[in-house]
């Protein structure tokens, strides 16, 4: 029998994978990938909680998270394109030009 | 072969007609008018109608090539032929090497020797058909009308070297009777005599 804890552990596991990715990646695009994993992990947790408590709020939160992710992609990719045009690469280290 | 006569008529220019091209719309209003005209006349569906009518009419023009063939022009430039003299059957080529010299893709090779009658004959005559562009210069330059372009255009083979050796091109002795005089490219036309103007000896 699969319980809520199973789903929560899975979500936590995926979230940790995403955290590892965020720590590790230097490339801006790959960093975005890791954040998408984190959002998805949370979505699983929300859907599972929604099912096991018989409450639709969790699913609705998942919808809103998906909407946030979609808008994040639009804006993030636009910024990324601008940065690429200016610098010719999308390394995170090159974003430090404002540092004194 | 009947029904293919219409393809022989290559003089198509009499059926040309000029397409009237409308001036390209510049302002937005003109563009809008064009869109309106096109959509009300449903130009896209006119195209669909034409193709559908063609399909229903079933007016097929395919020539199923290996089974039926279109006639080729009498002076078509296909694989070369080396001709023989009709009476004696000896080779016409005198090994002068003009074709070798004029060949623009540099694909003809001749090796000659002087035979027992004191006559120069080619021992080797090869054309590299990987390089030959069938321009016809060799046939045009040949003073003895020995090399001509034959009508055989179906030259598929396992090897590139086929058709290219002297034995392949030369008329076999037993087929000497069937060798038509000057059939192909490089020979004078049948009415050449009437066309030739005598060169005056003194100006």
């Amino acid at each position: 029998m699969i319980t809520l804890t199973h789903y929560l552990v899975l979500a936590a596991l995926l979230f940790c994978i995403a955290l590892v990715g965020i720590m590790r990646r230097k490339n801006l695009l790959m960093l975005f990938f890791a954040t998408e994993i984190a959002l998805n992990a949370v979505n699983i947790a929300f859907a599972a909680i929604s099912k096991y408590y018989g409450d639709l709020t969790g699913q609705l939160f998942a919808f809103f998270i998906i909407a946030v992710a979609a808008s994040e992609v639009a804006v993030g990719l636009g910024l990324l394109i601008i940065w690429y045009k200016r610098r010719g690469n999308i390394d995170l280290d090159s974003l430090q030009s404002m540092k004194g | 072969m009947s029904g293919l006569e219409q393809f022989k008529d290559r003089n198509v220019s009499q059926n040309y007609y000029k397409v009237q091209i409308e001036p390209y719309p510049k302002t937005g209003w003109e563009k809008f008018k064009r869109v309106l005209k096109r959509s009300i006349k449903l130009e896209l569906f006119v195209g669909l109608k034409i193709t559908l009518m063609e399909m229903l009419r079933f007016n097929i023009h395919t020539v199923q090539y290996p089974k039926e063939k279109l006639p080729i022009g009498p002076r078509y430039r296909a694989v070369h032929r080396l001709l023989r003299l009709l009476e004696s059957g000896t080779e016409r080529c005198i090994g002068c090497g003009l074709c070798e010299k004029i060949c623009i893709s540099n694909c003809i090779r001749i090796d000659t020797k002087v035979d027992e009658h004191g006559r120069k004959v080619p021992t080797e005559y090869t054309i590299n058909f990987g390089r030959c562009i069938f321009c016809g210069y060799c046939a045009e330059v040949c003073p003895e009308l020995a090399i001509v372009h034959g009508p055989d255009y179906e030259n598929a083979s396992e090897q590139r070297a086929h058709f290219a050796l002297k034995e392949d091109m030369l008329t076999p002795l037993d087929k000497l009777k069937q060798q038509q005089e000057y059939p192909g490219f490089g020979a004078p036309t049948p009415v050449a005599d009437q066309r030739i103007k005598k060169t005056p000896l003194a100006y």
Binding site: - | G47, L48, T51, E54, N59, I60, T62, Q64
Partner: protein, 330 residues
């Protein structure tokens, strides 16, 4: 979850896979013949009677051809990309009711592999996920033409998915369900009940977007020979290339079934024609329409494609949805 259900599902899956793979091959033959007739040609004539065995010859050729992988390519992705195209095309068929229910030996067969209540969205979503085939193929090929094809895949499929979704939204509002069986039952009352009369704009938009999503001719910019050699499929050979085409033809049939189920009355009886034959006729008419336009209409440029999608089709779709909503409110 009894054993009979599992066995029936497996049999249905096998039948769908077998029939549609074969139909994809036969589709190429029909396409070549129809195009040839429209262009005053004969098409394939040599292999078998009227060239019927040409399909077989092509199949043998594809299977025995060398499976070539370029040196610089990303091997696993390159190898898996055609499978994605074929697989998504067949997965999309899982939620499509192909025929009316019938009974064999006392066992009622539902000719749908999985009746989920969001069937329509599922089909559209999986067909949308099919864009990964050309996309990954183009990006993994290490070829400039391929990457151009992949970029075109991304913009074209992404843009037209919006139009497909919005155009289907208005019929969904009228029927009030996302299940394709409900769509079919809504139009049970004969030709006058067909949704195409209530939603003509949605039907036209859906068809146009369908052309773009199945990569058919007025919009087949992914592999427009004159511009990008063969687009994403430039480096492919043999059966991997063949799988792209099985996927493309399967998608054409999926779209045919979708359009006939949503707009053209589905598998309801048509006058005296039984429902199963009626839907087959509709699907084959749409398939024929695909070929017909291919013979008649020219390609569009990529910028015209984007212009058409975002400045013409999408506003039309949105206006259509709004008007449908207003009409339904009163």
């Amino acid at each position: 979850m009894d054993a009979a259900f599992v066995i029936a599902t497996i049999i249905k899956i096998l039948i769908v896979l077998g029939i549609f793979s074969a139909l994809a091959g036969f589709g190429t033959y029909v396409e070549r013949k129809v195009l040839a007739f429209m262009q005053r040609r004969l098409g394939p004539m040599h292999v078998g009677p009227y060239g019927l065995l040409q399909v077989l010859a092509d199949g043998i050729k594809l299977f025995t051809k060398e499976d070539f992988i370029p040196q610089g390519a990303v091997r696993p992705i390159f190898m898996i990309a055609p499978v994605i195209t074929a697989a998504t095309a067949f997965i999309a068929m899982a939620a499509i009711p192909m025929f009316p229910e019938f009974t064999i030996g006392g066992y009622t067969v539902k000719p749908i592999i999985s009746d989920i209540n969001v069937g329509l969205l599922f089909v559209l979503g999986v067909m949308g996920a099919g864009l990964y085939g050309p996309l990954l193929a183009g990006m993994a090929s290490q070829n400039k033409w391929s990457i151009l094809g992949a970029a075109r895949t991304a913009i074209q499929f992404l843009s037209y998915e919006v139009v497909t979704g919005l155009s289907v939204l208005a019929p969904v509002m009228i029927v009030g369900s996302l299940s394709l069986i409900d769509f079919n039952n809504y139009q049970a009352g004969g030709v006058s009940d067909w949704l195409v009369w209530k939603q003509p704009i949605a039907f036209i938009l859906f068809l146009i977007a369908g052309f773009a999503e199945t990569n058919r001719t007025p919009f087949d910019l992914l592999e427009h020979e004159a511009e990008v050699i063969s687009g994403y499929a430039t480096e492919y050979s043999g059966m991997r290339w063949g799988m792209f085409f099985i996927g493309e033809y399967a998608n054409m049939f999926t779209l045919g079934f979708l359009a006939s189920l949503i707009f053209l009355g589905g598998f309801n009886d048509l006058w005296f024609i039984p429902g199963a034959i009626a839907i087959l006729m509709k699907v084959f008419f749409i398939f024929f329409f695909f070929l017909w336009t291919r013979a008649s209409w020219p390609h569009v440029r990529p910028d015209q494609l984007m212009w058409l999608c975002w400045k013409v089709l999408m506003p039309l779709a949105v206006i259509n949805v709004v008007i449908t909503g207003i009409v339904m409110m009163f």
